[in-house]
């Protein structure tokens, strides 16, 4: 007999729609993501990829449809509860510009841990350990302005993972790196998330990046298409 708790997808989106004024960014998206899956989100510019993950993460409220993460239906939560769920369950990495320039690498990583109530000493120790895992053991006291793009992205990934999120949303995390630096950042990131069984949604235009995922979904004009559809029909 199937146990609902273990067979239900970690993330389930049904009938998601979202418009900005006259622009229909999402036109009915159904998507299931299992725990521990790494899924690439691809599709042309403006097709709705970022809007989709913002709805999945509870950053944007869809006009219609539901998102359930780890058994919690986001639509039923008030703004405070949603913010708490985000802090606890979700990590975010963007293309660039997300580190605070006035804080060292280790303090950037420690920030969400401090917000979660950790002591300064514990947060810093934990943050050094995360930097170490991402290959930056000796870079913790540098400021973002003193690091290469690849190093800064590793810090951002360490920060996103430090709270041990259930889901990591990454929007073009290596989009500003050359292919060798991107590859090395991705390989490290995926070793860490696969070991922790973190679920990942990775937006990318780059098929080489998408090839690190377990599967891809393609967003076109606010709908899922391509292999996701072909595979299902």
């Amino acid at each position: 007999m199937a146990d609902l708790a273990t067979t239900a997808p970690l993330i389930r989106a049904t009938g998601l729609r979202k418009s900005f004024g006259p622009t229909e960014a999402l036109r009915g998206i159904d998507l299931d993501i299992d725990r521990g899956e790494v899924v690439a989100v691809m599709g042309p510019s403006g097709s709705g990829k970022s809007t989709l993950i913002h709805c999945l993460a509870g950053v944007l409220t869809p006009d219609a449809g539901d998102v359930t993460i780890n058994g919690t239906e986001l639509g039923r939560l008030d703004a405070d509860a949603r913010a708490r769920l985000r802090l606890k369950e979700i990590g975010f990495v963007f293309q660039f510009g997300q580190l605070l320039p006035d804080l060292t690498a280790v303090d950037n990583v420690a920030l969400p841990l401090l917000m979660g109530g950790a002591s300064r000493r514990a947060a810093r120790a934990e943050s050094y350990a995360w930097l170490e895992r991402l290959g930056l053991g000796d870079q913790g006291d540098k400021f973002p302005g003193q690091m290469s793009g690849g190093q800064a992205q590793r810090v951002a990934i360490a920060r996103a993972l430090a709270t041990r999120p259930t889901v990591l949303f990454a929007d073009e995390p290596t989009g500003s790196l050359d292919s060798v630096a991107a590859e090395s950042v991705l390989e490290t990131m995926l070793d860490v998330v696969r070991e922790a069984r973190t679920t990942v949604l990775l937006i990318t235009h780059d098929p080489r990046t998408a090839a690190y995922a377990d599967r891809e979904v393609i967003v076109r004009d606010g709908r899922l298409s391509g292999s996701a559809l072909v595979g299902r029909s």
């Binding site: 042309p44 390989e187 098929p207 080489r208 998408a210 090839a211 690190y212 995922a213 377990d214 891809e216 393609i218 298409s225 391509g226 292999s227 559809l229 072909v230 595979g231």
Partner: protein, 175 residues
């Protein structure tokens, strides 16, 4: 890939036995294993063309036990080959191009055809990426080359699928 000049290059690195040649070929050109039969055929042709010679032939020794060395002519040949650029292989793009155009003309689902090809390409890239993860550097470079080629096809697929509507208009204007 051209087997003969690749073998010639390995021999030019230093005289080598037939058996070692196969081992080195499989290691250096990872993922393109070659049969002994192909190697011997290529060696025989290169001897005939004066590009290599077989050294210290023991009577009755099979080709695996012979040592091969490059000749001056062989070195010139190798340099020419190394300096001549290759024509990118148009086979896949032209097949897919024909299928796409026909699908449009026959009112079939060209979009879906491209999606299926895209999914197959991405699946292949995923396999190669997994292999690459644990591979030594030389092999990673070989896999990278395959990955970049698949990526080029994918770009063409994306560019084409973005223009399907326009292509369709142009085709019906022609007909």
């Amino acid at each position: 890939m051209d087997t003969s000049p690749a073998l010639l290059g390995l021999i030019a690195e230093g005289p080598t036995y037939g058996y070692d040649l196969k081992q080195r070929y499989d290691r250096v050109f990872a993922g393109r294993r070659i049969a002994f039969g192909q190697i011997y055929a290529a060696l025989a042709r290169m001897i005939r063309d004066g590009l290599i010679v077989a050294l210290g032939e023991e009577a009755g020794a099979g080709p695996a036990r012979k040592r091969y060395e490059v000749t001056a002519e062989g070195r010139r040949h190798l340099e020419d080959w190394l300096r001549t650029p290759d024509v990118p292989s148009p086979a896949l793009a032209s097949n897919l191009f024909a299928k796409t155009v026909l699908a449009l003309m026959l009112d079939d689902n060209a979009d879906q055809l491209l999606d299926v090809q895209r999914a197959a390409h991405l699946a292949r890239m995923r396999e190669l990426t997994t292999l690459k993860h644990s591979a030594p550097l030389l092999e990673r470079l070989a896999i990278d080359h395959a990955l970049f080629q698949i990526e080029a096809d994918l770009r063409w697929i994306d560019a084409t699928s973005a223009r399907l509507t326009d292509m369709k208009k142009e085709l019906s204007a022609d007909g």
